[in-house]
Every structure is written in structure tokens, then in C-alpha cells.
Symmetry: D2
Subunit: 345 residues, 4 copies
């Protein structure tokens, strides 16, 4: 749909646009309103360069593309009945899929992690999370440690639960894949690091590795968020989970601005499961349970929660943010109840 | 807490500040950190003019007030055990308090309103809403009609349900109070119209009239929202309900940016009940049920929902936004289930 | 333009829409793209109720209105060559129009105001501002005083400069108009108080009183801002100046988020002059000069600046925000230089 | 500064905090206000883990760190008189530093780039920009081409102007450094890709290569923006320029939300030069000149502008966004005039 600045294109303007369209084997149809005209492009509307050329003409106000910006992630694509599995579990089937664990693995005190993992298994979670390497705003903060990888591998070994770790570059990705981690996580700061997304897609193509993709902190729109996931799928790995985790600027009193409300929009447009991170959203242990329930009420397929057996001893965000495994256990029960009452549009 | 720009105030700067503080019968305490000093104000920290004078000094980086910006709305105030009632019902006791009804009353077709009201009574709602006068961005849109007031009064008469209408100025307020409406609603565009808030507080002081105060669209912070309510209470009417209703800029795909997540912050700071408006938040009938459940999951005491027996015939926002009374009925049941599982921090 | 959810409407859906359109004497044209169809409405596209009815159909994704939301404020309207005057001066002719003065008039110390006014006259400003009544987030803050009105009237008398004061309700408006103030200001919290805007428009219709309308703090879009002004003009007073003043959430380090960048968008769509308030935007005296120059660089017609001869003694926002009249004088010179080099699209 | 939730810590709470502080060789001072107490930490306040432990206690409302989050970028650091040079030119000395060029180099039509470069040299710019590889939201859009690197190298050869290209991963970085590009650009989507920032810092340590670091689109706060730059400097390359380029959500009518107003905040906190990108900010050629002048008025040291000899033929954002080299020439003159009148706080 082409919308001119004036009420109508004059003859020479229309000719110019028709000539551009002809270059792309398209034609133009003028539609007469009472007060003004708009112009439809007949033919393949997906040709981006043609659109940009027309949009750049000085007398054009706007050109609207109607096409979906993503092909494979689209709910109407051939992947519409793809189901994502982590370990033995199909994400979002019958009940919420729960990932939980400490923010950051403390290489100096491995027992905190191992004991948290056992307590969480007992609480009924489906997978473990734990930071091996950490994206830190401050370059002088603790950045993680390769040794932590062996700690989370030991936790998997002992509990039998699949594990989820964040990677930030090619080197970390390769270490994670060598260790056959079950879920590779892409953090909010890398949500549009397309080079990293492509490499993950390529190196996990055809495998059972899942990817937990966090939403960009800049209030990435639903389409922009899904388009980031498209990079993974287009390289051959459709095992993608979308993870809202709060955006900036924060709501005063929380760490970020909670964004579980984006869930119905995502589920309407794509087939991919949505797994919300309530811990980074609200950033305070007191508010994590309410945010978790609200996420399920909004239709989320799962949650990714920070939990630690002794939050105050954590070396990441745990002191403020982590909840006790016992609380996770209660929350699993409550989430299952809310799950039964939710509305999926 | 006074924080100087430099690491320490010099003697003459400290003297200047002490002189200002002395004017207000306060004194200054220097606190020595390893790298810098900060200064506490001993005495009545609530004297705003003193704070501003100190904050204006060229060598001061910041002055922090610790006092609550509201006195009566504070959860720790003498009103902490005040309960808001609408008609016979205590808001937020035992189950969600549900207000529902068409967006705008159609003066040309009163039956739409009357029949919607009966259907909603049957659906189990606690009160009726309906726009008599409407705030419209476009001055040439339908602005409401005094005749609509008689229609909603008739609906109250026939159903026995209390009624909620929005007022935008002194004239409308007086008409509403003459008609003894149960709930006076202040819309988002007037959320900081302090003159109107004061007049409502004065004219309803000591009465049983409740006020539903919507949150400012500009992402009013929890404190700013509560401070608006303080205007009402300070004039003598503590029957205030706080109503999150979405903020701008909108989340792409919704009408506004849903904000039910502010609920725990409000409930932590004040004793007032929170009644969420999911209809304006998401702005599409398909998404209203999920947003309603999420609001209850977040701890809201009630909901204010747009509902119409024939949404497509509505003259306000109904065609997009209103849900059927039958859907409200289902939703009431689901909300009650979620209510039982929620966490209040 | 009607955009269905599916690629094409089926016959019965198309019939239903055609029937709605026929009710409004319009017809529907189907436009065939390669992948999908859209539908144009032929006839008077301005009929809002028809649009809402179509938008409410379950199979419709979107309906686009192309009409301008404002008629008289539109740059292409019959008012396109209207010029706003304040006192003897045409706003935005040849050089920036500068309003300046203390935030709040101190009724206990009238000399601060009177002396500031004389100093500002000497600095070359075109009009005086000063708060008589104040919108305050905290109900217990100083709310202004009728006596202050006589102080600013005295300043006008002595300097010969026109005066600008903010009004918040009908009572204040009437007092201001009795005193024949030159500019009535509507603050950001009342930017969508349509009842107040209509009353101002009515009571000043046909007079030479100008109105300075501040932008809503919620990042009111250009169209929403202009639509508020349309309320004034539609009632008969076209002497409107649009005043960007910063929005929320604030940029960390400023009081608000500066928004002088909206100026070119406003000037492209309407004929009304733009007068930026840099003082509330940045909220710190140190940054006001840079923001002032940037506003002129963006094409603003004028500035509204807080200035006080002794900022630290001010009772409003002055201690942080006001600049000295001497600084205003320098700034007037610098603004005139930038004015000569600006680009108006 | 420790602020408890209650008005005062009880004895056992105070003991617990003192014990944590003692672990880090710090002590606690209680400060008595009239209504409540706060607690200062005496000793090294920079110990992040201690702060987190205290902040995690259930009775603590807030812990404030006063330390700068960056050491080397701080205006008061030992680098305070470091000057960034690109080629022979010191950025921000005497006049604005102007980088210009097409958005994306068209590998199929190298002459567009080469001719644009010559025209821009003639227009008086200081350096050339051009996209070799492109971050694209849509994975199916043109992603750039290694061949384009040789085209921009040819342009440098012919014009003698230094060149700026964006890199997105390790592979591209190495190609760029082999080609000895003068400025390596980090885009907004990678503004917090700390792995990439560290690698750039390491590989350019001690060299004359400059880095143009764009601001994160999520309205990265001034401190967060500067902290990203700290990653580069901490690895050994202090030749950093900070580049505001607009944030999301966009101002309706622009591509992004213009953010040149952040300039004074950056310049107040760090010694690094600020080079604004007006083209991505406003996203429309018509508005680029005004945004450029406003940036200089705000105190920016330079600009990075998209320019193309035939914008409509560009393959990137040029059709909408690029201005003609002739317009750049005029703009250079106007910017120099504004430069003379700016205020630096």
C-alpha cells in the first residue's frame, strides 16, 4: 500500500512509481477514495529494495508491507506443529515447564550449586539453570569461570535433569556444545547479536539442543523478537523457546519492566513455546511468585526461575532475586492450578 | 542524605549548609566513608523548601528524602485497616470484585445498555460501568450525552447493582453526585488534574461514594499514582480504589502497555484496593481474559471490564474491546480459582 | 484500508462489510495482491462509527484511517497563514520569542519577582512567566496563592512586558481572564483535560489572549498533542503555541526526557508556533543553555525559560532549575546566532 | 548507605549486618534522623559482594553505592586529558568532526560509493563511513559482502580520508584490522556484546585504531553506555568515541527517538568525545540537518551522517535517510557557526 503525501499522485509521479515497480515485475493499482487516493502494488510485495526505492520518493508519505517478516517462525508455516523438547519433556505439554537454579555458579563453593540442584529436583523442576560465564555491565565484576562448567555437568549427572547455560561468544558456545548442554541460552544483551545467533543455529542444526532466546531489553517488539529467533531456525535448529525477561526503563520498585504480557502476542504469531523469566523481570524474591503465576495466566508454556538454597550466599543476583527451592515447590503446585484455568486466544 | 559533588564539603560549604538547616531547626551530621563523605540531616526531614535550597547549591550532587510522599495512603498510616465498600460489598474480601459494562452508553439505543446490565448481573458481576460523558482525543468524536445518565440509573434500579461513571469536570461531578452514583471514576487523562481530585474529595467527604482512580498513561510511578489518591483522601474521602489500565507507548499488538504488574508495588505501599482495567490495557477482546487472570494472579482485588451483549453495535471502544457477558461469567469462575492460588508478598 | 486476518475475505464476510458500508453510503473495493487481498472503502472515510464496526469483526486484522485527526490545526487548513501574537510581537517572526521568569511567585517576598522581571526585561526577553497557582504531586506542598496574581500584574505594569500564567481549573481561568493576562498556560498534567481546554477556548474566543499548551508527559504523539490544541481552536481561539517540555520516564541525569526533537514533526503538520520549555526538560540550570540552543536549532519559534535573580531563594523549582537573568541575556544573543543557521524542512 | 524497611534496625539485625561488613573489613555507623535511621558503611565501599549480601537481607529496603561504575572513562581519571585522533585529526578540536558516507556499500555498483566519497571530500568531511557487513533484523535481507571492503579501501586510497566500518564478530574484526581501517564501529545491537568489546580492545590495544561505539537502543543510561566503553579502554585502547543514535520506542514520525540530548550528561562524566548519528535518530533525510545542528548545540564533538550521491539508488537505508553531499557541505558551514555559540557546562 503506497500512501502519497498529497491527496493524489500526478501523472508523472505515477509513471515514475510504475517504472520502479516494472523493474520488479509488479504493477500499480490506483484506488480512489472520496478525499484521496492510495496505491496498491500488485505482484510480489516482498521485494524489499523496491519498497525502499518507492518509500524514498519525495512525494510519498508511507509504504506498508503486509508480508510477515519471518517465514519459518510464523504460526502458519510448515513448522506450525513442531514441538520443542528438552531432555524427555515436551515443553508446554499438559503443564508448565520449569527451569530453575542459582544465578551464577560459584566456582569456589561448588556445594551451593550441587545442593540447590538436588533440592530443585525434589521440588519438581524440569531442568537446571546456572551461570558459567556472565555478561556484566561493569568490566571489573566477576565474569565467570570455565571451572563452573564442570560443576553444572556434575549436577546433571547426579540429578538426571537437563541443563541450561548462557553463552556469549563462539568460544563459550563450542565449550557448551562439547559438553552437550541441553539448552543454550542467549541473553538479552545478545538478543540481536545476529552473528552469534547464526553460529548457534549452524552448530546445533539437526541436533536435539534447544535454545532459550531472551527478549531484547529495549522492548523489542513481538516481530523483532520473533525475527531474532528466525535466525536460529533458518540455520536449521527449530528447537527455540522465547523468553520474556523484563525490559527497560524499569518500573520503579522492580529491576526491569515486567513483560509477561507479551506472551499472547507471541503465541498468536508463532508456534514457538514461551518460557518467562520472572526473576529478572521483577528482580526481588518477594515478587517472583506473583509474576510467575501471572505468566502462566497469560499463557506461558514455562518459567525460568532463579533459586538458591542460601540466596544470601550467592555470588550473582541471588541475594536480592533468588527464591528458596521450597518456595519453588509450592509455586509449581500453584502454577499447575492456574494452568488449568488459563485462556489461550 | 546530602551527597556533595566532591568527595567532601570544605569548611565554608559545610557552614553554609548548617546555616540553612538551622533556619529549619535541623542539624547536619558528617559521615566519613573511606573514599568520600555524605551528610545526614538530623531533625524534621520533611521540610521541602530546606531540601530544595540545599539541592540548589552548586557543590551538591544529590539530596535524598526518605520520607513517604503520602501520609494517609501509606500502608503504615492510621487508615491501614480501612476497607473500601461499594454498595454492600467490601472490595477484595474473599473474592475478586468485578465491575463490568459497555464502554459508552448509546443514548439512541438504551436497550443495549439495559440488556447488557441484566446479562452481567446474571454473570455474577458486582457493579456496572458505562460511559455517560467521554474524553476523546479528537474534538469531533462523540462526547457523550446527559441523557445517558438516566439510562444507567434505570439499569441500577432494575438490577440492584451499584454503578460507576467517569466524570471530567465540576459540572459532570455535580450531576453524578445528585444522582447518587456509587462509584465516581477519574480517567487516565485527569489522573493528575489535582483541582478535580480535590473537588471530588471535598464533595464526597464523609459519604459512602467510592472513587475509582485510573493510573496516568505516562507510566506514573507507584508513588506518583498513590500521591494522586492522597488528594482525595486528604479532603476526607478514603474510599479510593487504584486502577491500572495500561500505559503508553503501547506494546505493539495491544492498545496500551499492560501494567497489572504494578499491583504488588501498590499493595506493598498502601492499604487501598487495586482494581485492574484489562480492557483498556490490551484493547482487544481476544486478550482480555488472559489479562484479567494475570491481574488476579498479581494480587489485584478486582477488575473493571468492558462487556456488551453485541460488541459490534457499541458506539465506544466496544467493537474491538468488549467481551460478551457469557465470557464474563466464565471469567468470574476462572478468576476465583486463580484467586485461591495467588501470593501476596 | 481494511486488512483481513486471512489472505482474503470469503463471500459472506465481504457481504457483511458491504452491508455496514452501505449504511454509511460507502462501498468496498477489493484489491488483489499476489499473496493476499486488502479492501478499500470508497466514500467518506471519516465516519468513525463505521470504521469501528468493521474493525470489530472477528476476521479483520486492521482498519487504517487516512484522514487527519485534526482539521483546523492542519498545516493545510484555512488557518495556515494565521500568525500568533503576544502583546505587540508576532511569535517566531525574525527571531526567537523568549518567555522567562521565576517558577513560582513567592507571595511573602514580592521583590524577588519584581526584580527578576526588571532584570529579564533588560536581558531582552519578550514576555514574563510566573506561577500563581501550582500543580503539585504532593498535596501537602505549597499550592500557590491568589495574592501572587497581583504581583505579576505589577510586574507587567512596571516593565510593559506581557505575562504568562498557568491555570488549572475554571475558577483560576476566570481570575486570569479578568486580569487580562496575555498568555494562559495549560500544564502537562492538564494537556488532555478536554473540559478545561474547551472552556478556555470558549472564554477566549475572538480575543487576543494566547494559549501556551504544554505537551502531555506521557510522550503524547505529535498527533495527540495537536489534537489537544484543536479543542482550543475549534472553540474559536487560534492563538495557540505548542510547548514541548520533556516527557517521562526521565533520562537519567535530567528531570525529564528532553523532547525538543519533536519540533520539526509539529511544524510539518501544523501552522502553530512551537515554544520549547528547556527548564522542565533537563531540570538543571547547568544544562538549560545547551537545551535552549538545541531547541532553536531544531526550528523552535521560541523558548519558555525559568529565571530568577537569586535561584537559591526561589520557592518552586528554581534552586535547581532557574538560570540568572544575566545568563538569559547571553543566551538570547547565542539563540539569535543559531536561528540564522537553522534548517526548516 | 543502607536503608532499612522499618524505621530502625533492631539489635540482632544490626549485628548481622556488622558481621557481614566485618568479613570485608568494614564497619557500620548508625545515623539517627527524627523519624528513622539510616546506616553508613565505613571502609571500602566498592566491595560488590558485600553490598549484595546486605541488600539481600529481608529487612533492608535499599543499599546505595556511591562509587563510579567506571574507572578509566571517568572524567576525573588519569585519562582525563587523553585526546582521540582519527588520521591526522583530533576529534572535537576547534570544529565538529564529520564522518559521512552511504549506509551500505553496493558491491554490484562500486561507483556509487567511490563517487559519493569524492563528493564528500569536496564537501569538507573528515572521514568516510560505509557498511560492508550489515546487522539486519530480517535474516533474509542483504547481509553485506566481503568484496565491499575493497571498495571502501579504494575510496580511502583515492581521497586520503580515513574510513569507518562496522564489525559484528571476530571474523569481521580481523578482516577490518588487517585492512588497517581507521575507525572500527560497534553497532547498537552489539553495544553490550561484551565479548566483542573485549576482543576489539585487545586486538587494537596500543594501536591508533579508533572505536565508534553506538549507544544501546534500549535507552542505555549514561552510566551503562560509558561502562560499555570501559570494556574497550580496560583492554588497552582509549581511542573511544561515544555515538548516540536514537533509541526505541521511536517518536512517531521518526525512525527512532532522537537522543542527542544525552550529550551533556556524557561529557560531564567522561573525557571521551561524543559523535552523534543524526541519520539513524530521525531516519528521514528532511529532518537530518536540524538534528545535526541540535547535536552540535548540545555540545557534540562531531557527527556521523549518511550521505549518498543518489539516495534513491542506495541499497541500505539511503532512500529514506541519506542526504546529498551538497547538503552535507552546507551543513558543515552551519555546524561551524553553531559550534561557536554552544555552551559547555
Amino acid at each position: 500500500m503506497i500512501i502519497p503525501k498529497a491527496n493524489k499522485l500526478d501523472t508523472s509521479q505515477l509513471k515514475e512509481i510504475e517504472a520502479i515497480a516494472a523493474d520488479f515485475e509488479c504493477s500499480i493499482l490506483e484506488i480512489q477514495g472520496r478525499n484521496r487516493c492510495v496505491y496498491a502494488i500488485l505482484g510480489d510485495e516482498g521485494r524489499e529494495v523496491m519498497f525502499k526505492r518507492i518509500a524514498g520518493l519525495p512525494y510519498i508519505a508511507k509504504v506498508d508491507m503486509i508480508e510477515s517478516p519471518y517465514k519459518l517462525m510464523d504460526r502458519r508455516s510448515g513448522l506450525s506443529d513442531h514441538r520443542v523438547r528438552v531432555g524427555q519433556i515436551e515443553v508446554g505439554k499438559d503443564k508448565p515447564f520449569i527451569i530453575a537454579g542459582p544465578c551464577t555458579i560459584d566456582p569456589a563453593n561448588p556445594n551451593f550449586y550441587i545442593e540447590s540442584a538436588h533440592a530443585l529436583k525434589e521440588a519438581g523442576v524440569d531442568a537446571l539453570r546456572g551461570g558459567v560465564w556472565k555478561p556484566r555491565t561493569n568490566p571489573y565484576s566477576f565474569q565467570g569461570d570455565n571451572h563452573s562448567l564442570s560443576i553444572i555437568l556434575q549436577a546433571r549427572e547426579e540429578t538426571g535433569l537437563p541443563i541450561d547455560i548462557e553463552v556469549m561468544d563462539s568460544t563459550q558456545l563450542k565449550l557448551a556444545l562439547e559438553a552437550k548442554v541441553d539448552v543454550v541460552q542467549v541473553g538479552t544483551r545478545n538478543a540481536q547479536n545476529y552473528c552469534l545467533l547464526k553460529e548457534i543455529g549452524q552448530l546445533t542444526a539437526g541436533s536435539s539442543t534447544a535454545v532459550l532466546l531472551k527478549r531484547g531489553r529495549h522492548m523489542a517488539s513481538p516481530n523483532e523478537f520473533i525475527a531474532s529467533a528466525e535466525y536460529l531456525v533458518a540455520e536449521g535448529n527449530p528447537n527455540v523457546m522465547l523468553c520474556p525477561r523484563g525490559t527497560t526503563p524499569p518500573l520503579d520498585g522492580y529491576r526491569n519492566h515486567p513483560d509477561e504480557s507479551i506472551t499472547p502476542l507471541l503465541k498468536n504469531r508463532t508456534w514457538a513455546p514461551v518460557v518467562v523469566d520472572p526473576s529478572h523481570s521483577v528482580g526481588h524474591a518477594d515478587f517472583v511468585p506473583a509474576c510467575s503465576l501471572a505468566s502462566i495466566a497469560y499463557g506461558a508454556d514455562g518459567l525460568c526461575i532463579e533459586s538458591h538454597i542460601q540466596p544470601a550466599k550467592g555470588i550473582g543476583d541471588d541475594p536480592k532475586q533468588a527464591i528458596l527451592p521450597q518456595k519453588v515447590k509450592e509455586l509449581v503446585v500453584a502454577c499447575n492450578e492456574v494452568w488449568k484455568n488459563r485462556y489461550l486466544p
